[in-house]
Symmetry: C2
Subunit: 305 residues, 2 copies
């Protein structure tokens, strides 16, 4: 069985101090499946677009062995649009526009053939929709989900129901603090894991990522980037690399989970090197492997005397 | 030869959300030499206090094999005092009071027998004084220095002269950005290394530390602390652990430098577990070694398939 990815597909208008793109390919399901596509195939997207969604973007996804049978294309519908502006230090961004459009009435329907998917990645969308996806699945083996402060604040109850049914939650440090109502990250992790997910990953942007399981804490370094062109999609690319590698290896041991976190970090580092999804489109398999080794070199030290 | 440490000795009044201490032992030279004392001896402090400095603090330092021959005790002088208040998230602190007192007219004099010291740690004091120390040294082999935003902004020229004469600069991320005038840390590191120090360490608090040399970048994780009682002195403890380990091993290879960064991080983690210097006073040698191993486990991952 392939990997099932549910999330948004959108048209992003993004400006950074370096450049600007309009109506570029974006959305959580897009970044997740592109990043995952380097590891295993096929990846099946469930999502929605309007019929204004450019055919070239659909072609691009299909060329990466991403199956679009679960993609709803709404006649006369308008695709989800997001616009953001990043500031000089790139850690601060202003959302200029969010047009839900066809997403407003989206009801995810999992095609029959995908209901037995064992690996499921729920991109950052309304937890009500994420729950509706899980309701249609038959015994998923490994469910990864993402969320954001907007849902933590606005749909807490639905989110808490969801967390009881997922294996992995991937969020960033400020979201973890908000969800746990606790400033200390290590304490936050304990609190959040008690909400349901046996595995928690806290992304810390330029500071790397932390993996918390029952038995281990693993600290993955960040790739030392001299230039970040466009941070959009980094978190989704992380999730895609993480689940893509696990889906490929079918090995959920803690040791392999650490490698998956590093592959997630690697895909995020490719993502931010170019605008929109460009950084993910042009990666050679060998470069993914090389970057993994760079992470090894970056964090490896030996037993002291 | 022993390790020479120059810096402040003070009486700190610190409050955190958990507790408060008044006139506790503090100062950069104190934290550095206590942390270094776990690795090698003797450590020689050059600094100044007033005759109000409690004898019990002098006794404590001497009990840790810290030599006070270079300590000036000013008759009728008043010791340097600092007072700070940490907020709930402990990353934010307000300085409530800084009384330089005897530090205002401090002129560091290196005793003859210490002028040939090969390992020198310049704690965070006025760069003019740090320069005056180096002027008295005869061919020091390895000079580590610390500084802060106050000197980067107010004594830039003196600091730049100093940086040409040190081997290692240890600063935190916001200081690095300020010194390099560059928001990206990797670029900042390049700019700062061009100012003089061949080795730069950027401390990132709860996110670990980065080591930059000509050939490598090394990312050390932070110890996952559930409880930080008092962050005061963490940076100095890091510097003390770092130089103490290098002084003990006399091995300045990149691989050993990485271990030194981890030992620095270990000493910083002990420091913040208790108020004032208490966390450093009560550490067993075995616990230092154990914590080093915990850092190994925290960041180690294997070659992927």
């Amino acid at each position: 069985m392939g990997l099932l990815v549910v999330g948004s597909l959108g048209l992003d208008t993004v400006s950074t101090p370096f450049d600007k793109v309009e109506n570029a390919l974006g959305g959580s399901a897009v970044y997740i499946s592109l990043a995952a596509s380097y590891f295993s195939g096929p990846t099946h997207i469930v999502g929605v677009v309007g019929d204004d969604f450019p055919k070239k973007y659909l072609d691009l996804l299909e060329s990466r062995n991403i199956d679009l049978e679960g993609l709803q294309i709404v006649p006369n519908g308008k695709t989800f649009r997001w616009s953001g502006k990043y500031h000089y230090d790139l850690n601060v961004r202003d959302t200029l526009l969010t047009e839900l459009n066809v997403f407003e009435t989206f009801n995810p329907v999992i095609p029959d053939k995908l209901r037995k998917s064992r690996f499921v990645c729920l991109g950052n969308i309304d937890p009500t929709l994420q729950l509706r996806v899980l309701d249609q699945m038959e015994h998923p083996h490994f469910v990864v989900c993402d969320t954001m402060n907007y849902w933590i604040e606005g749909k807490k109850e639905e989110l808490l129901s969801l967390l009881k049914r997922v294996n992995v939650l991937i969020i960033n440090d400020s979201e973890a603090r908000l969800l746990a109502k606790e400033p200390n990250l290590v304490k936050s992790a304990k609190i959040i894991r008690e909400m349901g997910p046996e595995i928690l990953i806290i992304k810390k942007g330029e500071h790397g990522a932390l993996l918390f399981t029952e038995d281990i804490i693993f600290s993955a370094p960040a790739y030392p980037m001299e230039m970040i062109y466009d941070p959009t999609g980094a978190g989704d690319s992380f999730a895609g690399g993480f689940i893509g590698y696990l889906h490929k290896t079918q090995d959920l041991s803690p040791e392999n989970m650490k490698c998956a976190v590093v592959y997630g970090s690697a895909m995020a580092s490719f993502c931010v090197e170019k605008f929109s999804t460009k950084g993910l489109e042009e990666v050679e398999h060998l470069r993914v492997h090389d970057r993994f080794r760079e992470f090894l070199n970056l964090s490896r030290f030996n037993e002291a005397e």
